[in-house]
Symmetry: D2
């Protein structure tokens, strides 16, 4: 790790912990795509990172008994359960990992914190600001009792993104002049793709804005070390009606001949102002044809710039404006050196990491903070702030793109 | 040329012109950076393109007698003159090429049109909408007398950009879903760079917005075939004060210890809606550290996408969404084939064109339209519309980024 | 998987296996870098792939008791042992996974095959052709008894490389015209890096040639479906002497002031002829400054080309020469679609895989072949052929680069 | 210009020349593709560069009277002539520019030198070593009389290539460890493309080897400052027979149904050793599907590396190995700064140059050397050496790729 650059909370003095307190027993609530990714994190992190307490994949929870049994076997959890309240009440659980859809985050996370469990909650923290506030309040109270909470913006933990933050924090790009952050996908470009819950506001909260725009906002705030204070923007639905799913519910259901209204945004375009006054422009879209998972951020400063693209996640482009004029240029750094963030326990130089490695890094940081008694980051407060930015974007859009404060 | 795709105005039946009407005698008003580029166009175009009338570089005009004499020798004009009104009155001039700063465009162009000269006017058409309207009115009246006028958005004539337009016009990317257009530079990132006329609103009209944002708007309208109807945006000055120039005026003047106010924008961020309702987001900036001349446009459609970057101007990225799913990807087309737009008279495949080739293409299209008696594009009307977009952006910015119609 | 394109051996009819035969109990001999990678494969593959028999990480073997105990705990093996002969003799072992240095491969693998264990052996198959021949002979005899063997050229199992093979096999690039394969690293560019066993011929067999050149040869033969029949080349040591390691042996030992001779090559440059007569040029080097792990292959054919670079392992560049001339270009395919090879059990489109995923794919293919009773690929025979190519390169180099047959 | 790095011969003290000696009157022998490019150089160079003597495009020479008349008009030469001997004998000619096919270079160039004309001769210098030796001998004798000669390897004068040389010469990449140089095209990949003179040994001398391999050799020698002393390689014809051209001779002739033998190479693969002992590997091919004009060179040194690709000719990738390990990477330098080689008279930063700009740079250097009385580079001696390398490659290929000295 690049120790000199990383904040204390993430550099807990693990070595000083005289005695391990036994394994960290984890209950995971939910078992969809994120459940698979988190399971991989819990399974793999202890093999590569020195964790002061070894995680145990104790129980996975889901409403459908057969499905959760299958998930337990598939993803390697010792038990399956169907009632998360029962599980939270158990004495043999230390950590609750919430990977359900956003509309249930608040209830589960708050109950788990009150039950004295450390909570890792997937992003977005909640579907509404009010829920996120309640969660943050619960997290604050829990922290006084030594209970830790963290929100799962794992893209902070792609080593190239972490290293970008390190460079910015070390002053290598100087004073931040402007930011461009975009998250481009195209999986909804087929206008006849069926209408799933992700396109329904009551279930999903929002569309591209909350699903992927949230990552663009968090990454901007993380890398710059600043918050978005006010926004002007527009959200829009490009395909307003889609075929309803047929009888067999689920993502794989056949499309019906009836059509229903898409009630979330397909695209969100907004501009924000950071603490320092610098402008940041954002785009989140599911309609950028040909772009599959392009979370990109470029931060321009008075002394340099960094540029990152999740589609080439092992690379960071760095421009050092202090070099001689004839030698200026964006430098493609392969972020795979032993001294790059999170890299020391992995493979030799030039051997690439993939998507799910971030989940191991998340486990490492979370467990380290629990054992060290420090606040893991991003905190629920960080997650709440992202939620406030998203909410302000929706309000700005409804008000003719008028500038709208986030707090 | 890709004849099947290009509009009639640019495909004038030159071959049918039975008899050439003699050379086309050109007067160029102004002789700065644009004068050099235009001179190169007038000199080189006839060597590579079959022009129905051969241009003659008759006279170059500037206020400073010594400077214009030097320019005439350097850039190869037969004569130098100091009074543009005298030159416009001459019978032996057929074309007036206006490459002065924007605040003088209207007066010169209108006078030239009234004097019966064909006019090529550098972009932006004017510094204000009112001036641009007057010029357009003059152009319309002149057209009735067979006098042609064109505005110099030469980036349309980079073959890769023209080919992008051709692909869009041919329906290859389907219905346009969204557009991203940005023009990124960093030449003002030094906060102590001196305050020149380009940073003074009374001289330059605007900053990044008019200087380079205008290109992003024109290229968007050109490639999509649609106009921007309404905008929401913000313009901002990042470095509000700069050292005044010392005694020796000019760009190379030494900076004084006094500082003056920068009265134009350094950065413009705006969103526009196209005729079809599709959203386009724009950025023009002189502060994107490390980006030198990155005019980039990406157009996403229901059947594909195109992506262009002026820093790699011989390439076009094309995504054809109709291919099999496992074979989808952006294709890097080297736009250097004989059958690509404007390429047939140049070099063999893979031999690159540079910045100034667009000025030869401009001469070719302009002369062709004059001889064919058709309207060369972009017309003053096109230039006026770009001016209206820029004006609406300024008004939107002043009104808290409220959506503002362009007409 | 792209079933239609992949050969039978890799498409074993797993579904038809009526009844699983219980877990597949694995002993891994060795526990260095490759041990870590193989452990990750054995651990992770069953979570993502449907394996007809579940692997059990039964025992890891190493000479140093303390070290192997540590490895067992770290990498998750149930037991540690110090005598590989004892382990091979155990009835509760089904598979022997050999990840020791090359000079011990033959002895261990042959003994394991004779003991009736399926064998997965890391590349290079052996340090000499004679050893590799003996191993292949043992593998052939074992196969008659239903015992399977495979050599670990995992880069075949990077999905983009597999997909390249699929495209070639499907005739998409037509008749192969020429091949360029290179594996570029720079980790020895410091002339004062200490002399380790990897630079000693008696231990390592060869230098860049066998370590990384072997991958370039195997990938060429895999993707083209052809063998290298004759070669002309040169191998060379760029830094002939290096500091000896000091007292504390091991990679991290301090360098001594004495210097010793480097007895292996730093760079290998050779040309080979394929079965079809096409020429392939190869480069393996530890001195290509700035290149970290650039295993690149480009295959040019009469109808198209493919281009792959391990430093961007989720991408394949594909050139389809049958498209219209103005639309030709290398297409950057993100090989992350559900229908790409090996991708279906992993993440959604655009979520990247990393280096070690290939080891899960290897486990999947190996287990599938064992259960199906088919020959897993690459076979020991394939590994022997690579060894013969490397040997012929050394002989050609010694003979003034004279063309030298590989068989 | 980066004055500190460039050798004296190219930094002639032009400013000290008290008085110009009048215009430099040029006769160009030949008027094909190279004639067009050279004409553009003679026309444009004086507009951008300060030349101590202004070139005059006096006369163009060709065997076919009608064709050369047309060329004179098209390319802007004052006169056309059909007998080069007459032209060379004229008193009003100062410079002879030879752009005919290689088999006539020797006769024309030697005669011109003997007639006291400065000679610029297109590459390759000649079709055989013997001719090249005679030319070099004539050049040496002429030099004693103040007559200058230069061979036209213009790719040295792409600013990014020149800047690469500057960096190497300044020691920025340290001691050269190895070189990779390749020139990849695919214009012959159609096996039914007709057999033109370029595929006939008696006319063209060789195929890919002399046409484009020569550039790879020259650029290697230029950038490294070293010569290739010995080679091992193979040349090969991939499509051995092609349709003969029909009745209407010329490149555009229709293919006949008869086929004839291709007597030159389609591909050349060779390895060379430089003065310092470093190895350089070369590839020249007309069959690398999808590569249009990819002259690429990468030079790896003990302190860094440079990488250049003619398909992106305004860029140079530079790797500075002396930076901190976590910040290492290839830096994409846009070679468009005022202080980059040849750039000062051209456009602002970020405005790209194209293929033919190198011909203006060639004129500038040639004229500067003539006026300064210094040896312009590359000299005929440099051209002779390239010829010897090519010849050695052919001999090595014929001798089973045996290593063959170039001198």
């Amino acid at each position: 790790m690049t120790d000199t650059l990383r904040p204390d909370a993430e550099l807990a003095p693990v070595a000083e912990i005289a005695e391990a307190e036994g394994p960290l027993r984890v209950a995971m609530i939910g078992h969809g795509f994120m459940g698979a990714a988190h399971s991989q994190g819990w399974r793999v992190a202890p093999r590569f990172f020195d964790l002061a307490r070894e995680p145990e994949m104790t129980v996975v929870v889901g409403r459908n008994a057969a499905a959760v049994e299958h998930a337990a076997r598939k993803w390697g959890w010792a038990e399956a359960a169907t009632d998360w309240r029962d599980v939270i009440a158990r004495d043999d659980i230390d950590v609750v990992d919430v990977v359900t859809p956003g509309d249930t985050h608040a209830e589960i996370a708050i109950a788990a914190l009150e039950a004295g469990k450390h909570v890792l909650c997937e992003k977005p923290l909640a579907n509404t600001v009010a829920e996120a506030e309640a969660m943050t309040e619960a997290a604050t109270q829990a922290a006084e009792r030594g209970i830790r909470s963290m929100v799962g913006f794992t893209y902070r933990r792609v080593p190239a993104a972490t290293f970008a933050r390190d460079l910015v924090a070390a002053g290598r790009i100087g004073e931040i002049r402007q930011v461009r952050a975009e998250y481009l996908q195209d999986w909804l470009m087929d206008a006849d793709a069926p209408l799933t819950w992700r396109m329904q506001k009551d279930r999903a909260g929002s569309g591209a804005l909350g699903d992927i725009g949230a990552h663009a906002v968090d990454l901007t705030e993380y890398i710059t070390g600043q918050k978005v204070t006010t926004v002007s923007g527009i959200i829009e639905t490009i395909v307003p009606e889609r075929p309803l799913l047929g009888e067999s519910v689920g993502l794989s259901g056949t499309a019906s001949t009836e059509r229903g209204a898409v009630t979330v945004d397909d695209i969100a375009l907004f501009t924000g102002r950071l603490d320092s006054g610098a402008l940041a422009s954002f785009e989140a879209t599911r309609f950028r044809t040909g772009r599959k998972n392009a979370l990109r951020i470029e931060v321009a400063g008075s002394l340099g710039a960094i540029s990152f693209d999740l589609e080439r996640l092992n690379e960071l482009d760095f421009y050092d404006a202090t070099l001689p004029e004839t030698e200026l240029g964006f430098r493609r750094i392969l972020v795979t050196e032993h001294d790059h963030p999170y890299l020391s326990p992995w493979w030799p130089t030039g051997h690439m990491l993939g998507y799910e490695h971030g989940f191991s890094h998340q486990v490492y940081d979370f467990v380290t903070a629990i054992v060290a008694g420090t606040q893991p980051l991003p905190s629920f407060d960080d997650g709440l702030h992202v939620q406030r930015v998203l909410d302000a974007v929706e309000r700005s859009s409804a008000a003719g793109s008028m500038w709208t404060p986030t707090d």
